[in-house]
Point group: D3
Chain length 103, copies 6
């Protein structure tokens, strides 16, 4: 679907996508930490699709199960119980990712 957004050839949208790539690259902070920052932001803003995306990236970066639940903790503390349903779905997806990894 991002293809469709890009196909429209709108300069602003294209640049936003390109900054998105730039932002998470290794720098003073590692991609791993940045993806954790992206994840917690997506959780407190309660965007399920964004959460899924960053869960995948965190998984690729080798975030462990205990680390992940500490990210969930910060998100639920700062964002409140309103974040719980999103955490439920995040746990479910995280389990899928980490289970398929072990195979």
């Amino acid at each position: 679907m991002n293809d469709k957004i890009l196909a429209a050839d709108n300069k602003v949208m294209k640049r936003i996508f390109s900054i998105d790539t730039l932002t998470y690259q290794d720098g003073a902070l590692s991609t791993k930490v940045k993806e954790m920052l992206g994840l917690v932001s997506s959780m407190v803003l309660r965007c399920d699709d964004c959460i899924k995306y960053h869960l995948e990236k965190c998984h690729e970066e080798g975030v462990t199960n205990d680390e992940m639940f500490e990210i969930f903790s910060v998100a639920n503390l700062v964002g409140g119980t309103i974040v719980i349903p999103h955490t439920r779905r995040a746990v479910e997806y995280w389990e899928e990712l980490t289970t398929s990894k072990q195979e």
Copy 2:
């Protein structure tokens, strides 16, 4: 799904769940009023799962149909028309709850 969150044995998440139980207990305010407060908060923050949960609790606490629509009114006034789609789903679920009750 809450079981999975709790199974991870993360202290912070566990304590948040236990405070959640504590918060809605009868105190200076009745559980009924507190559940109405929880519902209206969930509506203005637009969390459908949270709304469903508090609708069930409000139903158990004997909130009437007219009271419920006055809660919806406050939510839509304070939160704006952006709350309407969530109100639609809330009305639908409330109807299910109250219809099954009458049987």
Copy 3:
């Protein structure tokens, strides 16, 4: 300042103000309960001016100190620690209101 908004003679703005008055009138729910609903909504949406307004109304409706802190509890639980700074200012204003009452 509301006078300036109304002076502009914009129909929509005028009607929103008049619905606002209507919403909090005694009905199936008392004005007291509705003001508590308005307050908790303002807290989770983190609008200091709205919080102040509803604190005044709650005070007029005879909300007690213990009741008020239970409203604060729901707001901080549902809305997260992001609500704490607003709670601080609310406590401060609530104290002013309740202290001046006792005189």
Copy 4:
């Protein structure tokens, strides 16, 4: 479903619906511009149902494809990448609307 909300005969809800109609009528600003304002607001507040509604209205008002992507640009710039998943769904629905139009 709006019928069900209205059927409950709650004065506040009825008036909110009637103001909603009033707000988007031609005035100093055209309905077209107002629908664009409603759309961008729905996007930054991330309400998919509201977005769909305003996409339909924008389509009726003759908003072009290039204009639509400029609205998407403002929404994604102001609201951040958190708006991207909603933009994806908006693009998909917009395509449906504009394709069926051409037939």
Copy 5:
């Protein structure tokens, strides 16, 4: 203060600022309409500094008083009464801008 952000020489921040400029340029939609879109977005997201910025731009683009209040209407309808305090401050600033213009 933007100078300080830019002085830090962070690529992502610099690009976000440059996209910001690009987004509001005349295109399929005029700068005037885009600034109105930026304003209404800032209002429903309740960012006073952003509102001030777009009020200035709208003023430069020749938005009239009646048009402005119709933007306020959409913002208050969609975003709810939580937007009222921000509207108050917006009206006050708009008055300053339009009064100084007439001189």
Copy 6:
């Protein structure tokens, strides 16, 4: 002011404060990383007081200037330009913190 909240002797509020302390302790993730998570969450939720608090903690944890601007980048990308005014104030406060440190 937290003293006043705690003085009210409300169990829920007390426990929220105690979880807050627990959440940011060294665990699978270091306090440093957790404070960065708390900061970025506060930025996208646009809470200036919370931002200040986490800036202080990040400073104590030895977050460097380049790292800090990468956190700002993620916040502004994910949260949008609506975060810019909060970033401005954050940069200002960060400068105060880091300048006084060097003395």
